[in-house]
């Protein structure tokens, strides 16, 4: 009798295990539910509001939103593709787009009737794969600008106007380097441009470090490289050769990381994405300024006791200012359990109605020009001037915007560039070492 019980219990346990495994599918989707993932907690309320509007227009459909932090988001998304538990719709990043295209896990969105001219220039085009199909519906956009501590700038005698009219070059760093040096203060109170400055014992760095920048340098070196006339790849999209071996690029990198050697920029050893990103260095009073993206506006302005200003990226050797303009999109997964509902939801997300709703929250710039205006107004209401982020998109005479590199094998490029750039920044390896790394990358792209 007892043994039967044991056998029965073991059997029941085994059954429940297998049943448990089988049950996980579909991420809770059904014909009436559309599952949607995003990573930015700040944006969650805005998209919940959108979901309400969508559900009103589509009775019988409801949207289940899941928010996960950036790192977990991609890990979990990858795992969900493998396990078959992927969301119907997810917020997609251009950096990952190439890999998802390689893996063929996205559903073409050609039938949604996305008209590129409805959105800010360039946003829609980036989400077309090499096969000519559209895989993302434009959602929002961001640019990069200089955040600075107003009090520290004031103490250094730098006005907002001066900070907005800086220029730089890879030889002597121009007025930008002078300003950053002047914002730097060592432990004896000497500024970076004063005689007797102790670069080994810096109390406040002029510029925070955002790490070595991997292969894109979005919030670190990218604006300098682009304003010197450099591009990541040989073609605007789906290039087949990376150009990290360019002499122009290498001279920019040498100068940029050189700021740390001079003591004006926090060294790589001060940076850890987990504990001490650029915004934490500014918030902690360890750095006077930092390049960061528009998605960080609320974070910088939200720090208690810190008065923040923003300024344009400096004018480069090309005579223009440059800033990366990146846009997120919503993608539908190929094996979505509710594909029809998913397509409807994406159509709604990219519509003026939802974009305007998101804009009024003043947390992100939605992709259509009108909803961008709504966002600018919402920021203004909070007392935040976002000109440093919006003007580069509107003013093509003085500004260049460029996109994240979009190529195949983006994960391999990252795996090679991440340590290579750290080696240069942290260990003082020569920039010419990038020649070899570039060869390795281009060899992979040639496959």
């Amino acid at each position: 009798m007892r043994i039967r019980t044991v056998v029965a219990l073991t059997g029941a346990l085994a059954l429940s295990l297998t049943a448990g495994c089988a049950k996980g599918g579909g991420a809770g989707s059904s014909a009436h539910t559309v599952s949607y993932w995003l990573w930015d907690a700040n944006q969650l309320p805005a998209y919940q509001a959108c979901a309400k509007g969508f559900e009103k227009e589509n009775p019988g459909l409801n949207v289940k939103i899941t928010q996960l932090g950036w790192d977990d988001y991609w890990t979990k998304l990858t795992a969900s593709f493998i396990a078959g538990t992927q969301p119907d719709v997810f917020t997609d990043h251009i950096q990952k787009f190439g890999q998802f295209a390689d893996l063929k896990v996205l559903e073409p969105l050609d039938d949604l009737g996305i008209d590129a001219s409805d959105y800010q220039a360039g946003l829609a085009a980036n989400w077309t794969g090499q096969d000519g199909h559209r895989y993302g519906a434009p959602k929002d956009w961001d640019t990069v600008a200089l955040f600075y501590n107003q009090k520290m700038a004031g103490d250094a005698g730098l006005t907002a106007q001066e900070l907005n009219s800086l220029s730089w070059n890879p030889k002597d760093g121009g007025t930008f380097e002078k300003a950053i040096a002047h914002l730097t203060v060592d432990r004896n109170g000497k500024r970076g441009d004063e005689p007797g400055f102790d670069r080994r014992h810096v109390k406040v760095y002029g510029l925070a470090t955002g790490g070595a920048g991997d292969g894109d340098g979005q919030t670190t070196w990218s604006n300098f490289a682009a304003s010197a006339g450099w591009n990541y790849t040989d073609k605007k999209r789906w290039g087949t050769k990376y150009q990290y071996d360019s002499k122009t690029f290498q001279s920019v990198i040498k100068w940029y990381f050189g700021l740390a050697k001079k003591g004006y920029m926090a060294p790589l050893t001060d940076y850890s994405a987990g504990a001490n990103p650029a915004n934490a260095q500014v918030a902690g009073g360890k750095a006077a300024a930092a390049f960061d993206g528009a998605w960080m506006i609320s974070t910088y302005y939200g720090v208690k006791g810190l008065k923040v200003g923003t300024a344009f990226t400096p004018v480069g050797p090309t005579g223009k200012r440059a800033t990366m303009m990146n846009g997120l999109a919503d993608s539908v997964t190929k094996n979505a359990s509710n594909k029809q509902g998913a397509l409807k939801w994406v159509k709604y997300l990219s519509s003026e109605a939802c974009q305007k709703t998101v804009g009024t929250y003043g947390i992100v710039f939605p992709a259509t020009p009108d909803s961008t205006k709504a966002a600018v107004a919402a920021y203004k209401k909070k007392g935040i001037d976002v000109t440093a982020f919006t003007k580069p998109v509107a003013d093509k005479k003085d500004f260049t915007t460029f996109s994240f590199p979009i190529t195949n094998y983006s994960a391999d490029v990252y795996a090679l560039m991440h340590p290579a750039m750290q080696d240069i920044f942290g260990n003082g390896k020569s920039v010419s070492s990038l020649d070899e790394t570039t060869d390795q990358i281009n060899l992979i792209l040639d496959q």
């Binding site: 890990t75 893996l103 896990v105 926090a266 850890s272 994960a411 942290g426």
Partner: protein, 321 residues
Amino acid sequence: MTIASSSPPSRLPLGGAEGARTKPRTDRSRAGENRGDGRLAAVFIAPALLGFLVFLLWPTLRGIYLSFTRYNLLTPPEWVGLDNYVRMVNDPIFWDSLKVTVEYVLINIGVQTVAALAIAVLLQRLTQSALLRGIVLTPYLMANVVAGIVWLWILDTQLGIGNEIISGLGFDRIPFLADDTWAIPTIALINVWRHVGYTALLLFAGLQAIPNDMYEAAKVDGASEWRMFWRITMPLLRPVLAVVLIMTVIGSFQVFDTVAVTTLGGPANATNVLQYYIYGAAFGRFQFGYASAMSVALLVVLSAITFVQYRLTRAGQTDLG
């Protein structure tokens, strides 16, 4: 096993309940009793065996198969023969990560074993306090990831409280997790901090098995604590110490989580330990074939090291009695 001979007679009537009831209990044959025990044993072993087959043996065999393929998990694997192994042998990052891992293991196991032994001996010779034994174990109760993050915050170059103290004492700040020479020793010591209590407890259990009269006899002869440690404790603890070493070395070679939350393998590839490199190849770059080949290499390395350790330390024999 003495259960069969000492347990009270009990009928184990699998599928034979009718017959069992009609036969007198004393009339039962020995063979029947053994067969019953075998079945009972099988039932008790079954869950563990099932787990072993499903979660260990099958994945291992499949991993070995996948190491000969090109596989991205989403499309069927494609047989490529020895390609992944050829690539591995020619991959400088693989060899570098193996070197980094060995460096980590040497520091981690070296410090941990000495510290754990010291704690265990102190626990045995100085105190009977269960509270102290409990305190020693507390870091082990914390998840590895949590321990990693807490230490990352404490040791941050600019904002960490650890570096604030160092700087307050007038020393230069130390980039514990951000400098290529400091990073591996720091991660190794974070894991020593977390695991030393557990290791000490294992060794402490081994010490409890050493008869106390040996120490009493030695004391009567006027031996010092130092001499007793080397002449009594160490020789008699050897089998336990050997098993603990084998277990901790295997665990140490598989370091992953602390790296994943503190340094992400950086700066440059300074902390790119093998498991982290394998993880990146598999889940970052979707090269499951190559990742499997490196996993097989790790399996071979660990098997070899365990075999050598087992032989060198005579872990299967005791000098007691």
